[in-house]
């Protein structure tokens, strides 16, 4: 009877347990099948399990070829106000920060009010403050604290810099100032995590250098510490640029630009055997922090297009020699004018020079002679075949951001005229960048091989050094042609007793005085020139190729009087920096294989 009385209770209890079990089962099935809810729950779980933290690793340093720092990171502070502190004095903080940094007092007050109104824990007042400023703030903070302790006045006690703190953060820093700024480019660190390197090395190698601030999920569970992702710091880059050569080149260039009242200029120094750029001076130089939108030409040496003039004759002569159509002694009768495409071509002096050899053609820089070579000897097919083989009309591929290029106009193109063949032979009607021109001519200094120009010597990734290996871009001419032309140009310099010569060193070179195309109309500007010079040496074992461009010098009529002496000055400086003894000493040294010259 008793048992009968209790069974409904048991049944109810059993039913309750069954229902609870069923509920759990339904929920479990629901969670497995309804991924949205499951995701929400997983997220909620992770939020409890993880702390989010912003971690910033330093951007890679940039060094010159000898380990001198060209770009690094300096410690700065983000000044802020901790709003969780009691008794903060917003007016005092705004007034002091405003006085220290020259910020607007009302803007600072608004920033603090906005942060307070939105329940933020911290208001940012100033970013990238120097350590000196941070120290000044801490000192002021202490002064206020001392004042409050020693004063009976409630007002004095109410004023303080309580809550003002600084979070360390790194800023890009260029210890050499504007030295090589055109090569280095810039990194606008003040843009924070979205900052991107622009121009030069900073732009070209941004992905290697960068280590953007990252949000990391730090597990609260200490057992999961092993799962922490290790953030890589940016790679360090070692450039081929030699700081001392770069500095000397910039000084020489600045002086030349000032002396000849030029609009700008470029001096490039390359090792023709490897394509390593030893110096790339460019004037005007832009500051590292100058990112003005009007700034289109950050580095004239890689982005400025201009008609090079007679330095281009080196390529025309190289083509004719390599094709076996002329020799240095082949003669040409120069009567002072050459007609092609309905236009007359004149020499620079508007004179005829009679029967001349090819060496004399280069020595006197005769337009008529070179036009004859392109039109009558090489013909368009061969001429343009060689010019393209030299890389004209294409980018050199130098590892700097912002390289410019102007397509080479070829017969059959819409904007190609017959006269172009004649004018192209002496560097008019064709646009190149200084780096493009120098790279092409470097073939003559390197046994016919063009090496890819580059500024990156090596990079250091996780402590491991990865070297850049020289690459051959092309071989437009044979080694024999290259040596023959080098000798011709050396003889040409010596015969004219050029101001480019340097005692003790046998050098080859060519001047280039080019007319400047008018922007508004067809034809060229009156009385305005571009002066260039390309040279290399020592010619039996070239260690450097130098390219000089003075942009529209007002005080010079010819490259021989403006750019050529600059070349001599450059070589005098280079031989000391490169520890390159005069030819006689060098040849003596070669007899002693283990000897090294020391100045």
């Amino acid at each position: 009877m008793m048992k009968m009385l209790h069974w409904p209770r048991y049944m109810i209890l059993a039913l309750a347990f069954t229902l609870a079990g069923l509920g759990i089962l339904i929920r479990a099935v629901n969670l497995q099948t309804n991924s949205k809810t499951a995701q929400q729950l997983i997220q909620a779980g992770q939020q409890r399990d993880l702390d989010t933290k912003q971690v910033e690793r330093p951007r890679g340093n940039i060094y010159d070829a000898y380990g001198n720092v060209l770009a690094a990171n300096s410690l700065t502070y983000e000044i802020g106000l901790d709003l969780t502190k009691d008794n903060i004095s917003t007016e005092t903080v705004a007034a002091q920060i405003s006085a220290m940094f020259g910020s607007d007092y009302n803007t600072l007050l608004d920033t603090i009010s906005y942060a307070q109104a939105n329940g933020l824990r911290r208001a940012t007042l100033k970013r990238y403050a120097s350590p000196e400023k941070m120290a000044e703030i801490l000192l002021k903070q202490q002064e206020y604290a001392d004042m409050a302790v020693n004063s009976d006045s409630k007002t004095v006690r109410g004023t303080s810099l309580l809550g003002v703190d600084g979070i360390p953060m790194l800023a890009r820093y260029y210890p050499e100032g504007s030295l090589a700024s055109n090569v280095l480019g810039t990194f606008p660190y003040w843009e924070g995590s979205s900052a991107q390197g622009y121009y030069g090395v900073e732009g070209a190698y941004h992905d290697l250098l960068t280590s953007p601030p990252q949000q990391l999920d730090i597990p609260n569970n200490p057992l999961k510490m092993a799962e922490l992702a290790e953030l890589q710091r940016g790679d360090d880059l070692i450039l081929t640029i030699d700081r001392s050569i770069q500095m000397n080149m910039e000084e020489i260039l600045d002086k030349a630009v000032e002396k000849w009242d030029a609009d700008g200029g470029v001096i490039l120094v390359m090792d023709p055997r490897t394509g390593e750029m030893l110096a790339m001076a460019s004037t005007p130089r832009q500051g590292h922090n100058n990112l003005s939108s009007s700034l289109k030409l950050y580095d004239l040496s890689v982005s400025a297009l201009y008609e090079p003039g007679s330095v281009f004759k080196v390529l025309t002569m190289a083509a004719a020699l390599d094709a076996g159509l002329v020799t240095p002694d082949t003669t040409f009768v120069d009567n002072g004018v050459f007609y092609h495409g309905g236009y007359p071509i004149y020499n620079w002096d508007r004179a005829g020079h009679g029967e001349v050899s090819m060496t004399t053609c280069m020595e006197l820089s005769l337009n008529v002679c070179l036009a004859h070579l392109a039109v009558d000897v090489l013909k368009p097919e061969k001429f343009y075949e060689y010019i393209q083989a030299f890389g004209i009309g294409r980018k050199t591929g130098i590892d700097l951001e912002g390289e410019g290029v102007y397509p080479l106009r070829l017969p059959g193109d819409e904007n190609y005229y017959d006269v172009d063949l004649a004018t192209n032979s002496f560097g008019q009607g064709v646009s190149v960048t200084p780096i493009q021109m120098m790279t092409a001519i470097s073939a003559v200094a390197n046994d016919g091989k063009i090496m890819v120009p580059h500024v990156l010597k090596a990079r250091i990734h996780n402590g491991v050094r990865y070297d850049t290996h020289p690459q051959v871009m092309a071989q437009p001419i044979s080694a024999a042609t290259a040596r023959t032309l080098s000798s011709m140009l050396a003889v040409a310099l010596e015969n004219e007793a050029s101001t480019a010569l340097v005692e003790g060193y046998r050098l080859a070179g060519k001047t280039g005085t080019a007319e400047v195309p008018s922007e508004n109309s067809a034809g060229y500007k009156d009385g305005i020139i571009n002066a260039s010079f390309v040279g290399w040496g020592p010619i039996d074992d070239p260690r450097f190729v130098v390219y000089i461009w003075l942009k529209e010098p007002k005080e010079a009529d010819w490259a021989s009087e403006s750019a050529a002496p600059v070349f001599a000055e450059v070589v005098k400086s280079l031989v000391v920096s490169l520890r390159l003894p005069p030819d006689a000493v060098r040849l003596q040294m070669q007899a002693v294989p283990t000897a090294t010259a020391a100045p």
């Binding site: 990171n73 922490l228 700081r243 402590g463 340097v502 031989v575 000391v576 000493v585 000897a595």
Partner: protein, 164 residues
């Protein structure tokens, strides 16, 4: 054997003769309970010890990672400071102060020095780091289960005994 004395006893008396005293039974139960309690406490204590040590190690790692970041920032800053001191402009000023003048190439005398080393970069001389193996972040003791730890310890003890 003489079992005559059994004849005089009934069953209850026999049970009574062999029954433990109640206080003795209680003591035994309490003893067993306490033994189990001690065992559980020991296991829990072991767990607590391991967890505490793991937590401490984990927190230490977090603190050390923060320290690494701080050191990295300081190193970066000091590198920048050193670079500024050694910048070409500053070096030139110092050289001028010491009455050095830029060399005139015409005054340079080159000498042949057998076996002299050419100018080298400090970065060239730096030994290249060769990564070998993954660094151990946590010792195995902190990631082992109690059972694993127990069996490993036993195995190592056995090995120690076997080894003369």
């Amino acid at each position: 054997m003489n079992f005559a004395w059994l004849n005089g006893m009934n069953t209850n008396q026999l049970i009574q003769a062999y029954r433990q005293a109640p206080w003795r039974t209680q003591l035994q139960w309490i003893g067993i309970f306490l033994l189990i309690l001690v065992l559980i406490a020991s296991v829990l204590g072991l767990f607590l010890d391991i967890t505490a040590r793991t937590s401490t190690a984990g927190r230490n790692i977090q603190l050390m990672e923060d320290e690494i970041l701080q050191y990295e920032q300081n190193i970066a800053s000091l590198t920048a400071r050193l670079a500024e001191i050694n910048s070409s402009a500053n070096m030139r000023k110092r050289a001028e102060k010491l009455n050095f003048v830029p060399v005139d190439p015409n005054e340079v005398h080159f000498m042949i020095i057998p076996d002299a080393q050419p100018r080298q970069s400090t970065l060239d001389e730096a030994p290249a780091f060769q990564p070998t193996e993954e660094p151990v972040l946590l010792q195995p003791e902190y990631t082992l289960s109690l059972w694993d730890w127990f069996s490993q310890t036993l195995t190592s003890l056995q090995n120690q005994q076997v080894t003369p």
